[in-house]
């Protein structure tokens, strides 16, 4: 019986693409569609969920649809492009290599190669699915002629949704608690958050603090950021939590006053939807997909200006009514994004190709 089989270079249980892939697999199987996950390299944590891509030819059935989760360079791209099955590309964005080159040339090279691979896949792809309109523009530019936008499924875990009931914001007599969630990588531009924090402490809120939750994606950037914090004299104000469990991330959301996003490049930004789910105000630079995903549920700062960011955050947190308005807007925006139904929509689109 033909199936829909997913291909992903490496399946991480904890990242957005990994969750999305596992969620889709469960949805396909629930509909009685055979569905396996094939990887290029095995992650020990998910070894029981995956098979090596080289095993697929032995399992293939006429009518199979191959769904490629594309976020980085991989030998899977040319390998899949050479196969005869119907191919669907689910595109999660490529970080522009110029943002990475100064920190890790090998990673930058990989991203450049990923761009070439994306263009190679375009003429072979029956359907391309972007998780934001911003990402869809990349697909069109790469030559994809049949593409749609469906946000990532399983973006919001149960721990995050549970955190909405434990929110403890609005404390007095202390500084604002800024929160950053996501991989520590150059495109996230966390150094801009640190500079804004320095400005905020100098002018508006001397006790403001920043909690950074997320694993180091580029080791050299992570090391530089920690050193920068130390050299700027902010050791006591900035805490690096590293990779955290879902429960720990949920606790961080519950205790923060504002989610600060200074990314230079975002294809979707799952943490913004998590913040909306727990009613946490978001202040972000208007970059990448952030205006589209955030909508009216947060405040966008147009210019990349730490002074503007710091004053926007301080003004917002001094206005509880405005924070409540944003929380309500967040719930409306989440309903509009319909993350809960996103998986089913994607499955419908792919199954129609069988």
């Amino acid at each position: 019986m033909s199936g829909v089989h997913q291909f992903v270079p490496l399946l991480h249980r904890g990242d957005a693409v990994g969750r999305h892939t596992l969620r889709l697999r469960d949805l396909f199987v629930a509909r009685g569609v055979p569905s396996r996950i094939y990887v290029e390299l095995v992650d020990p944590e998910t070894v029981t969920e995956t098979e090596l891509a080289t095993a697929y030819p032995g399992h293939s059935e006429p009518g199979d649809v191959l769904l490629y989760q594309f976020a980085t360079a991989s030998a899977m791209a040319p390998w899949l492009a050479a196969r005869a099955e119907t191919l669907v590309v689910n595109y999660h964005n490529i970080t522009p290599p110029e943002l990475l080159a100064a920190w890790d040339n090998q990673v930058a090279l990989g991203q450049l190669r990923a761009g070439a691979e994306l263009r190679t896949l375009a003429p072979r792809t029956a359907l391309a699915i972007a998780d934001s309109a911003y990402n869809n523009e990349h697909l069109v530019a790469a030559g994809f002629v049949n593409s749609v936008v469906v946000p990532p499924s399983a973006a919001l875990g149960d721990d995050i949704l549970g955190a909405a009931e434990r929110v403890q914001r609005g404390g007095t007599g202390r500084g604002a608690r800024w929160l950053s969630v996501g991989r520590v990588a150059p495109n996230k531009a966390l150094h801009e958050t640190v500079i804004a924090l320095m400005v905020a402490r100098a002018h508006r809120d001397p006790e403001a603090t920043l909690l950074v939750v997320g694993k180091a994606a580029i080791a050299s950037y992570d090391a530089a950021l920690r050193r920068f914090v130390a050299e700027m004299g902010l050791d006591d104000a900035v805490t690096f939590a590293g990779h955290a469990s879902d429960a720990a991330v949920a606790a961080a959301y519950a205790q923060a006053d504002v989610l600060v996003v200074t990314s230079q490049h975002e294809g979707f930004c799952v943490p913004v939807t998590e913040a909306m789910a727990v009613g946490l105000p978001v202040v972000a630079y208007a970059q990448g997909a952030l205006p589209e995903v955030l909508g009216a549920a947060g405040v966008l700062v147009d210019a990349v200006d730490p002074y503007g960011l710091a004053s926007t955050i301080a003004d917002l947190l001094e206005d509880p009514a405005r924070c409540r308005e944003l929380a309500a807007a967040g719930r409306r925006q989440l309903a509009a994004l319909d993350l809960a139904g996103a998986g089913d929509r994607l499955v419908d689109l792919v199954c129609a190709l069988r």
Partner: protein, 329 residues
């Protein structure tokens, strides 16, 4: 996905000083962070050439998986559309965009050699960067144990001395704090620049419009051309650096000063070292402090300076600092 609501935008900002000064402050802080980039500037560096060349001319080397070996070897894909050659990795559009004049086989062969040379250089650079990283000891907490101190009542004699020396070029103040000396120098018509590694301290000077680099004085001097400065004032930094770093710093001062230009050193004196406010931890980390006046004279002489009479020699005063003057030979 539904069409999202229009986003709310903010353009309000609190200014530390004028917006120009704030923009300069942000630029200085970003420059301080950019210094920590391990592989050059944010612009494409030499490895970018490898990136582009290898994409066009070299073998496919995406990783170390069985799948990548299969693709690299150009073997048939079982059950697939048949064997593939590496060159077909690029789309026709890519080739058209990148190719320019049609490449000859000789040129392709030559470019492959260039790519291999880049790969070799890349490996060497990686090794050297690794070694450099080991020697590049991050700033520990030590500088922060000593609060940035303004020169207080020593500002006036230092400025008078510098004015009298008629500096031909910018004067750099190492550990400029919030910029009190820069204020006085600029009021006296002397172009001045500060180096201050503590970002939170430097921010004050930057927002008041001073030209300040957020970095160690030694790094600031390294970035200057030889014989380009009209004068240097060192305060604070000379009290917290260990002796080997102090010798290196003086060598850099000597390199960057024009011949005959003044160096002023504002230093704590040993008579008060035991009860100075740094505390036990700081003194332990800094090593034996402070140096005697005779030791300073020796250091300056060895570094290529001719010592003059101390501008201030008042170890019994509250400030308990010695202000030494010298000129580059």
């Amino acid at each position: 996905m539904s069409v999202p609501s229009p986003p709310q935008r903010s353009s309000r900002r609190d200014s530390g000083g004028s917006e120009d000064h704030d923009a300069d402050a942000v630029a200085a802080l970003r420059a301080a962070f950019a210094r920590l980039q391990p592989q050059g500037s944010g612009a494409w560096n030499f490895l970018a050439a490898l990136t582009h060349l290898s994409d066009r001319y070299s073998e496919y080397r995406p990783g170390a998986s069985e799948l990548s070996k299969l693709v690299a070897s150009g073997q048939a894909v079982p059950g697939g559309a048949g064997p593939r050659r590496r060159r077909s990795r690029l789309s026709a559009a890519d080739r058209a965009a990148n190719s320019g004049p049609v490449a000859t086989p000789e040129l392709e062969w030559a470019m492959k050699q260039v790519v291999e040379a880049f790969r070799f250089l890349s490996a060497r650079v990686a090794i050297l960067e690794e070694r450099a990283a080991l020697e590049d000891v991050p700033v520990s907490g030590t500088p922060w144990l000593m609060p940035a101190q303004e020169l207080g009542r020593w500002v006036e004699p230092v400025v008078a001395h510098l004015v009298a020396s008629d500096p031909r070029g910018e004067v750099v103040h190492g550990d400029c704090g919030e910029g009190a000396l820069l204020d006085a120098l600029e009021s006296a018509g002397i172009a001045a620049h500060g180096a201050e590694p503590r970002g939170t301290v430097a921010l004050g000077a930057l927002e008041r419009g001073h030209s300040v680099s957020v970095c160690e004085t030694a790094d600031e001097l390294s970035a200057r051309s030889p014989a380009s400065l009209g004068g240097v004032v060192l305060s604070g930094v000379v009290d917290r650096l260990p002796l080997p770093a102090l010798i290196t710093l003086l060598a850099r001062v000597q390199r960057t000063l024009t011949p005959g230009a003044p160096l002023v050193v504002v230093v704590r004196t040993p008579q008060v070292a035991d009860d100075e406010p740094l505390g036990v931890v700081a003194r332990d980390l800094l090593g034996p402090r402070a140096l005697h006046a005779r030791t300073w004279a020796l250091l300056l002489e060895r570094a290529g300076f001719v010592s003059g009479a101390p501008l201030v020699a008042d170890p019994a005063s509250d400030d308990r600092r010695l202000v030494l003057s010298s000129v580059r030979r």
